[in-house]
């Protein structure tokens, strides 16, 4: 996230402060606290809220603007296919490891369609867990991911992997379609240079 800049009265600028207490991270921290204790009692709940508030104040983080709506069915499809992919990835790596086969690899650039940092991060994370790929470099200005792909025989294989990666992005975009920007605020998306 690029820092939001506020202008002082004398014309100089400072980076904007953000609210340290945000409802969703607070709820998540309380949930983690309860999961660590393994039970729910009023005392633990109160303690969890206290710890969550202290943690949020001690380590403030900028809010993440999803900029997306959520489609539940498409999200379930995305998660289901993702879990299948995780299993396939492990089987693929296990086969390569156990077969003692000589493999060639590739580094493939994938230009994502999205202009959202959040979607880019999500796609990059998911691509790291699905068959074949580890993200070696990401360029935020153009939303390009550079992926190291295991077991690619030739250029056609690299091209095929690029299609797989873009298909994953399409699934993510179907599950979390971008919200149309409100007309009053200027669009902050950067044009690819």
């Amino acid at each position: 996230m690029s820092p939001v800049v506020r202008t002082r009265r004398d014309g100089t600028t400072r980076s904007a402060r953000y609210r340290a207490l945000q409802p969703v991270p607070l709820a998540w921290l309380v949930l983690v606290w309860l999961a660590l204790w393994g039970e729910v009692t009023p005392l633990l709940l109160a303690g969890g809220v206290l710890v969550a508030v202290l943690v949020s104040l001690a380590f403030p983080l900028p809010p993440i603007d999803l900029g997306s709506r959520v489609r539940p069915v498409a999200l379930l499809v995305l998660i289901g296919l993702f879990l299948v992919d995780v299993v396939r990835a492990s089987v693929q790596v296990a086969r390569v490891v156990l077969a003692r086969r000589h493999v060639t690899n590739a580094v493939v650039a994938v230009d994502l369609e999205t202009s959202s940092d959040f979607i880019t991060t999500l796609v990059a994370s998911m691509l790291s867990l699905v068959p074949g790929s580890v993200v070696v470099e990401a360029r935020r200005s153009t939303h390009t991911l550079y992926l190291h792909v295991l077991d690619v025989a030739d250029e056609a294989g690299a091209e095929e992997f690029r299609r797989t990666a873009l298909a994953l992005e399409q699934r993510v975009l179907r599950a979390l379609p971008p919200r149309p920007a409100p007309p009053s605020t200027p669009s902050t998306t950067q044009e690819p240079t």
């Binding site: 393994g38 790596v93 390569v96 490891v97 790291s128 867990l129 580890v134 993200v135 190291h148």
Partner: protein, 124 residues
């Protein structure tokens, strides 16, 4: 089926899950030893290992059958998925920037082939 029957089924499933998970962790370890270069090793270190953790945690949940630990196990799996991705990316990126790449193993390399731009790699 009687209650003891169900617990037996759960125990057998748990044993299977834990065994399979441990095997995948072993495969990951062998992979880290056997793979020719760092980037390939990152594949071995992330993928079978994450699925192995998921399976072991599923097995533990099936064996313990205690709702209070399920939250903890789900947390373990989520954190494992989130952190292994970040660590493999950071190690891979560092190796690429440091030039520790076996170019003879790459059939396509679109990162090194890219013309140098004004903007440094990874610039925000």
């Amino acid at each position: 089926m009687s209650r003891t029957g169900w617990t037996t089924v759960a125990d057998v499933l748990a044993a299977g899950c834990i065994l399979l998970g441990a095997l995948l962790a072993l495969v990951a370890a062998i992979g880290v030893l056997r793979m020719p270069d760092l980037l390939s090793r990152m594949h071995a270190a992330t993928k079978p290992q994450v699925l192995g953790t998921v399976l072991v945690m599923t097995g533990v949940a099936l064996r313990l059958r205690d709702p209070s630990v399920v939250g903890l196990l789900i947390l373990v799996v989520l954190l494992q998925m989130a952190t292994s991705v970040v660590s493999s990316h950071m190690v891979g990126r560092a190796s690429f920037r440091a030039g520790q790449v076996r170019h003879d193993l790459l059939v396509v390399d679109e990162l090194s082939d890219e013309p140098v731009r004004d903007e440094p790699r990874g610039a925000p």
